[in-house]
Symmetry: C2
């Protein structure tokens, strides 16, 4: 995924921070929390990252990459527009609800004020674009309906973060169920 000789400590910080951010939120997670999870002292983190904001921005970038990669891989072998959308939804939810991934932080977190907001918006747009295209390819949807359809689908998918618990339905089953409800004919 990255270089052959990666900076292990840096990656570990990102891993633990991503978990904490998605579990408790950005604002409620302190540098002390992250340091404790990694097994470092707070000051040491600053050797790897200049600020807490920068950690979040990095996680955002990786999280969006993870979703995009998963979705694009899932749809390459599929032709039918509805099947492609379903494959994308399954991949999206699989990535999102995987507790070790960075994707949950992308959806769940939105730092209060912060100067990095523009960057995060840009990242988020990157992955919305994929769904824009997938929805545009569906038959029988007028241009004006496509936008609301996309937002409805993404809302239903992303809202799972608030209620999903492992053990019942799998993420893939949930995604297919949601698509089935939105599928016409």
């Amino acid at each position: 995924m990255q270089k052959t000789v990666p900076d292990n400590r840096r990656a570990l910080i990102l891993d633990e921070a991503a978990k904490l951010f998605s579990a408790r939120g950005y604002d409620s997670t302190s540098m002390r929390d992250i340091a404790a999870a990694v097994g470092m002292l707070p000051g040491s983190i600053y050797y790897h990252f200049p600020s807490k904001d920068e950690i979040l921005a990095t996680i955002y970038g990786i999280g969006v990459d993870q979703i995009i990669t998963a979705v694009e891989t899932a749809i390459t072998t599929v032709d039918d527009p509805w099947d492609r959308l379903e494959a994308a939804a399954v991949a999206h939810l699989d990535t999102l609800l995987n507790r070790d991934g960075y994707a949950a932080a992308v959806i769940a977190d939105w730092p209060g004020d912060s100067e990095i907001r523009p960057r995060l918006v840009t990242e988020r747009d990157r992955y919305e674009t994929i769904f824009r295209k997938l929805v545009a390819a569906l038959p029988g949807l007028r241009k004006a309906e496509q936008r609301l359809f996309r937002l409805t689908l993404l809302g239903a998918l992303n809202w799972t973060l608030t209620w999903y618990r492992p053990g019942r339905q799998t993420p893939a089953q949930i995604a297919r169920g949601i698509i089935a409800m939105l599928r016409k004919t």
Copy 2:
């Protein structure tokens, strides 16, 4: 809306706090921010509320009351199950996207740790129950499908908070559009 001689200062604090909480989030809003918005000094707030948590819990209770009242009023005169669900969705979104209401804080805010979480969960359940009944009344949905249908609908509705901007479609139009997508025959 309330008593004839209400505690104006207390109500004002709640109003301003609700706006700040839904705009910037609970954690990112300080007592100093609230005090400044009200035109008080931070210490004075504590005459009206014992803690910041208590302000949020109060807003939650009122916000849920607002949604429930709006939804129940909207559905009393409607008979057909699908029409009832649509009326409920319209009322829900009208309340949610009204910038002066407390409902947005209910959906958007979730304090990091806090001991009041159980209370908030209870409040949230109160309003989910209404939709549980409305969905149960729909024809042609098997028991197992009802839960996912409800969560999909609420997800799509609540997600509007992240993208809705006044000027385009009205909340009512959005709600009807979402229902139309989920409506079978």
